[in-house]
Amino acid sequence: MSLSALHTSDTLRSRSEALAAAFPALMADAQHLASTVLLGVHGRKRAGTGDEFWQYRPAEAGDALRTIDWRRSARSDGHFVRQTEWQAAQSVMIGVDDAASMTFTGAKSRPSKLRRAQTLAMALSILAVHGGERVGLTHLAEPPRGGRAQLVRMAQALMDGHEAGDYGTPRPQSMPLGSRAVFFSDFLGDPAAIEQVMGRAADRGVKGALVQILDPDEEAFPYDGRTVFMSMSGSLRFETLKAKSLREEYLQRLAARKDRLLQATRRTGWQFHVHHTDQPGDPTLLWLYRALEKVRA
């Protein structure tokens, strides 16, 4: 199967559907349900506002008359109130870094990092929508929504325009209180910006995951000889006479970067995951599924 390095909005959606089809619907839990005004289809195993029947309880003083279920009450001497299960929907905000560095791929047989990030993002969105959640993109001002139409909108928004810079930073426009957020990026840019965003997110009670998407070449640094390394837009430039001798130091720096990201996520209760473009997307999606579940606490 030959994969073109970048998605069009059509291929993005169809492939994401295929990827998402293998998983049970994502049922993200909401830790701070009370503070979320948006109702979803999450049964909370307690009485509240919702559509599903929860229980009949004897009417007490103070119950409004219209809450009494007359059909049930007619079968006995007492009065009963019909309660429904409290249901709530979760919001998942997804950020995909589309800076120039994400368009890199080390081999023609591998998709670019951007394409993989888009695929994962859409797969996650589809899972969420199937689970009745609401999804949205962080760099859009629009609030998260559910439904298949939202998937189409997201796919188009993901394909629209690239960030001009070499390295992107998450710039969340909207981040509803207590929602979930997932950022896909290579995180090779300034880590301080990411930490700042995560700090802000933590302040708003937003939890989530960072998925670092790397090409295997970036992990292995399989270069040798006299080489001029240039960033994808050409703004950065570095020349070495013997690339192989730099390998150790490069790997150390990469490990340090990962470690910094990991520490940042630990501080804020987020999750961190590294995905390589030569691996299939399924395990990462599964990981995301669990990571978002795990927040339940």
Binding site: F104, L188, R226, R257
Partner: protein, 930 residues
């Protein structure tokens, strides 16, 4: 070699001086950088190169380039190997050729060399004379134009004998000529070389030409310990060599063939070797000549004669009633005389005739039954030799009394006579000299041979012509009569010493030899062959080719054995009477010695080496080096990657191999680098650690899941138990040994091929020796065990040839339920209770107070189920579950139970019925308490 190198334009070589400058120039230029887009550059910023040498070209690459340029310069300078140089000189030229048998080995080279000399002489207009030393002209040499000699050169051929240097020196001394002398020598030190060299030096300056090839000499064969040995020798021994000695002869159909071959290996410096032939007599008697295969020289051929023949002689005496001493036996002396040189047979007459011997000896046998007589006559007429000895029985019988009969050469008088005995008058009679017509002519008669008794011949008209030996008084001692193609010979005395002392003397042996009853044991002496004229049958030329002798004159016996070979006495096969003698070029005494030349004498080789233009080779080398340089430069710059580098590496390897083709052609097959066969490697891999194995079904997806499932189980075992298995192995039933694996997981797919009979044999061996196969039909979600799913049907087909005991659904007290975890369910990806194991023996008893029966024996050899365990166990390379199981936490629980079942399974296989012994725990505790 280097000395023979010349250049057409040597001045170009001055360009080599520029190489150091080029070195300096090239060294200063670093390789060009390669540009790469790389997002990780952000992490690279600020790093320093710790090595600074690579901005210069590495020394070996420089060396490569220098070599390439040097090769190009040398190539353009036009190197020529073996440039032709003209031989200076004028005046007449005398070319003296040894033209002996030793020259025949490289005669073509010689004529080639001589024709080159003739060409040169022709260009210089020098008159030439060619003289073959083996065929000296009667007068002075004919000096003619080189062209005339070039036309006559093909008629000069090597002679099958050595040159007579003494005669040649005389002939040379008689010359009154001034000439340059070219001596084309055969390389051997024949007698009188120094004299000849001195004589030739008187004529003019001498140059010698001799070849570097070994002269091979094959000595006549000899008997040793019942085997035939022939010595091979050579004169230079500069290199090890293998010589094949071939025995030629006629096969039973009369067609010439190779009868036997032996190889003699001579190491460097080893001059002599011996080929030993161990042949049955029939084959041995058919050998006509030995030769060294591939050597065209009379010295490499040796003809065989009677020396090699061992006749088969049948001895028959008169059914001896006398059990007397051996020395009195009529056959004792015959045996003694014949045993060294003939194969003797003894037995009944009719038996002997069936064996068709060469000669048959009747010692004092008087009467022969009529049918035996008929067979005997028939045999003699077909060429047999019947030799009869007289004796008391013959003398007393009536045989040949009135008529001689076909089996008696003469008529006999009754009784015989006795002279010189105790009861008779007169002296014992001696032998009279043999007449010329006798086959014994020339033999010396010892004075002490006397005859005391004999049978007497009737005087007949034919008596005198049939008598071949007689006593001094004229009475016949030995008579002979022809019969058909054979003959009948009668010795008028006994074969033992009763009647005469003849059997005690050497003459007796010689007489038997002359009659060709026996063969001569060695090269004949002059007196052995004296008086016989030897007629050549076949003669040999210098190349060792045999041809018919035609009408060449006979050779008298005296010269036959002693005179050196010459134009009159060519090597070949000569017959005289009943015997044959071969004269060979090489005798057992022949010693090959290389000719030595004075240091002042120029000696040239025989090779005419054509000039070789090396320009192309050098330029090709330069081109090849530049190609390698290009690849190396690419590699240095890190631009070789992926398929390009593989292709380039292949190209380099091919180039290197091209240079080493002859030595590297012997490839090791079927063995990996460290000398292990693939089977050994599998065995090592599987036995170094406990290894889980699965059957490769041929369905790639299924096999991948099996591998992942075994890996998942391996991981679980590693983390939870003391079993720490190695990486699982896929097993090919057709090729791999199964005995190493404790357990074999066999996912059944409907499409799987039936294993071969050999594979089933291995599988059954595996089951009988304690192995366990887990069959997984993976269909529990659509049908229970035994239902007609395609996998279920396939399983039935696959398992039919296997040696599987009766099965039962796994009972709740089976040991599998408690080998590690306590389990009652065995789910995989599917949940089904249909898991079958070997049935418990019907007499298994419930143990009192225990929830299980007393099932002590054996690991179940098979476990059959359809729960798709491997899928539930499967993990990817990072250890995450590969396939979903069930839904949510229930699914995870199911996966956990599946893994626990896997652990139980491996524990069951490895520890057997250990947990079954728990039934005895109460008893053990009981005892401990006391």
């Amino acid at each position: 070699m280097i000395a023979n190198l010349a250049f057409t334009t040597p001045l170009l070589l001055l360009a080599l001086v520029a190489l150091p400058i080029l070195w300096w120039l090239l060294r200063a230029v670093p390789p060009a950088p390669i540009r790469r887009r790389f997002p990780g550059v952000a992490l690279l910023l600020g790093l320093q190169d710790d090595e600074s040498q690579t901005d210069k070209t590495p020394w070996w690459l420089l060396l490569l380039r220098m070599l390439a340029i040097a090769a190009a310069i040398v190539g353009f300078a036009g190197p020529v190997l073996n440039p032709q140089t003209e031989r200076a000189g004028d005046g007449p030229l005398l070319i003296v050729m040894d033209a002996s048998w030793a020259s025949a080995r490289d005669w073509d080279d010689r004529t080639e060399r001589v024709s080159v000399l003739l060409d040169e002489a022709g260009r210089s207009g020098r008159p030439v004379a060619i003289v073959a030393l083996t065929d000296l002209p009667a007068g002075p040499p004919e000096f003619q134009s080189a062209n005339a000699w070039a036309a006559r050169l093909p008629s000069v051929s090597p002679a099958p004998y050595a040159p007579d240097y003494a005669a040649a020196a005389d002939w040379t001394g008689s010359l009154d000529a001034e000439a340059d002398v070219f001596w084309v020598s055969d390389g051997l030190a024949h007698d009188g070389r120094d004299d000849l060299l001195a004589a030739l030096s008187d004529i003019g300056p001498v140059s010698a030409f001799q070849g570097a090839r070994d002269v091979i000499a094959l000595a006549p064969p000899r008997f040793a310990d019942g085997m035939i040995e022939t010595d091979v020798q050579r004169h230079l021994a500069a290199a090890p060599r293998e010589l094949t000695v071939v025995a030629h002869g006629l096969d039973p159909a009369g067609i010439p063939r190779d009868l036997a071959r032996e190889t003699v290996r001579l190491d460097t410096g080893e001059l002599r070797g011996t080929a030993v032939f161990d042949l049955p007599p029939e084959l041995r008697n058919r050998i006509t000549r030995f030769e060294v295969a591939g050597e065209r020289s009379a010295g490499a051929v040796t003809l065989t004669d009677d020396t090699l023949q061992r006749r088969e002689v049948a001895l028959i005496d008169a059914q001896g009633e006398d059990e007397g001493q051996a020395l009195l036996s009529p056959l004792h002396y015959l045996r003694q005389a014949l045993a060294p040189t003939a194969d003797l047979m003894e037995g009944g007459l009719s038996d002997m005739l069936l064996a068709s011997p060469d000669a048959l000896i009747l010692a004092d046998v008087a009467t022969i039954s009529p049918d035996e007589e008929e067979a005997l006559i028939d045999w003699v007429e077909r060429g047999g030799l019947l030799l009869r000895f007289a004796g008391p029985r013959l003398a007393a019988s009536d045989v040949a009394r009135d008529t001689a009969g076909p089996l008696m050469p003469v008529r006999l008088r009754a009784g015989g006579r006795s002279v010189g005995g105790a009861m008779s008058w007169g002296e014992p009679k001696a032998l009279s000299p043999f007449p010329e017509t006798s086959p014994f002519f020339g033999l010396d008669i010892p004075g002490d041979v006397t005859v005391e008794s004999q049978v007497m011949a009737q005087p007949d008209p034919q008596l005198s012509e049939r008598t071949i030996a007689s006593l001094t008084d004229g009475t016949p001692l030995v008579t002979r009569a022809p019969l058909g193609q054979g003959s009948v010979v009668l010795f008028h005395v006994t074969a033992n010493a009763d009647w005469s002392s003849l059997p005690l003397s050497g003459l007796f042996v010689q007489m038997l030899e002359r009659l060709a009853v026996s063969t001569r044991p060695a090269i004949p002496d002059a007196e052995d062959v004296a008086g016989i004229t030897w007629v050549p049958e076949q003669v040999m030329d210098g190349f060792g080719t045999l041809r018919d002798a035609g009408i060449r004159p006979g050779i008298p016996g005296e010269t036959m054995v002693e005179a050196p070979l010459s134009a009159d006495l060519l090597p070949g096969l000569y017959t005289g009477g009943e015997q044959r003698i071969a004269r060979n070029v090489v005798t057992p005494e022949t010693e090959l010695a290389p000719a030595s030349w004075p240091a002042s004498l120029p000696v040239e080789g025989m090779d005419v080496v054509p000039a070789t233009d090396l320009m192309a080779a050098f330029l090709a080398a330069a081109l090849g080096l530049l190609l390698i340089d290009a690849l190396a430069a690419l590699w240095l710059a890190g631009r070789l990657s992926g398929p390009i580098s593989r292709g380039a590496a292949g190209l380099v390897v091919a180039l290197i191999l091209m240079g080493q083709m002859p030595s590297g052609a012997i490839a090791q097959t079927g063995r990996s680098g460290d000398g292990l066969t693939p089977e050994d490697e599998l065995a090592l891999l599987a036995t170094s650690e406990v290894t889980l194995a699965y059957v490769i079904t041929g369905d790639p997806e299924l096999d991948r899941v099996s591998q992942a499932g075994m890996q998942g189980l391996t991981n679980t075992l590693w983390s939870r138990t003391s079993v720490e298995p190695a990486t699982p192995i896929g097993v090919n039933l057709e090729t791999d040994e199964l005995a190493f694996f404790p357990m074999l997981y066999w996912p059944v797919s409907a499409a799987q091929e039936m294993p071969s009979a050999a594979a089933y044999r291995r599988l059954n061996d595996y089951l009988r020796s304690g192995g366990m196969i887990v069959f997984d039909t993976r269909d529990a979600h659509i049908g229970g065990f035994g239902s007609g799913t395609p996998e279920g049907r396939r399983l039935r087909t696959l398992a039919a040839p296997l040696d599987i005991p009766p099965l039962e659904p796994i009972p709740p007290d089976h040991v599998l339920t408690r080998t590690f975890y306590l389990l009652q369910d065995f789910p995989g990806r599917h949940v089904s209770r249909d898991v079958w194991v070997e049935a418990a023996p019907p007499d298994a008893e419930q143990i009192e107070g225990m929830p299980f029966r007393n099932l002590n024996d054996g690991v179940t050899p098979v476990l059959v189920g359809g729960n798709d365990w491997a899928s539930a166990w499967a993990v990817d390379s990072t250890g995450r579950a590969l396939l979903p199981v069930g839904r949510g936490m229930t699914g995870e629980r199911q996966r956990e139970i599946a893994l626990r079942f896997g652990v139980n399974l491996v524990m069951h296989v490895l520890s057997g019925n250990y947990k079954s012994d728990q039934v005895h725990v109460p008893a053990l505790l009981d005892r401990l308490g006391q």
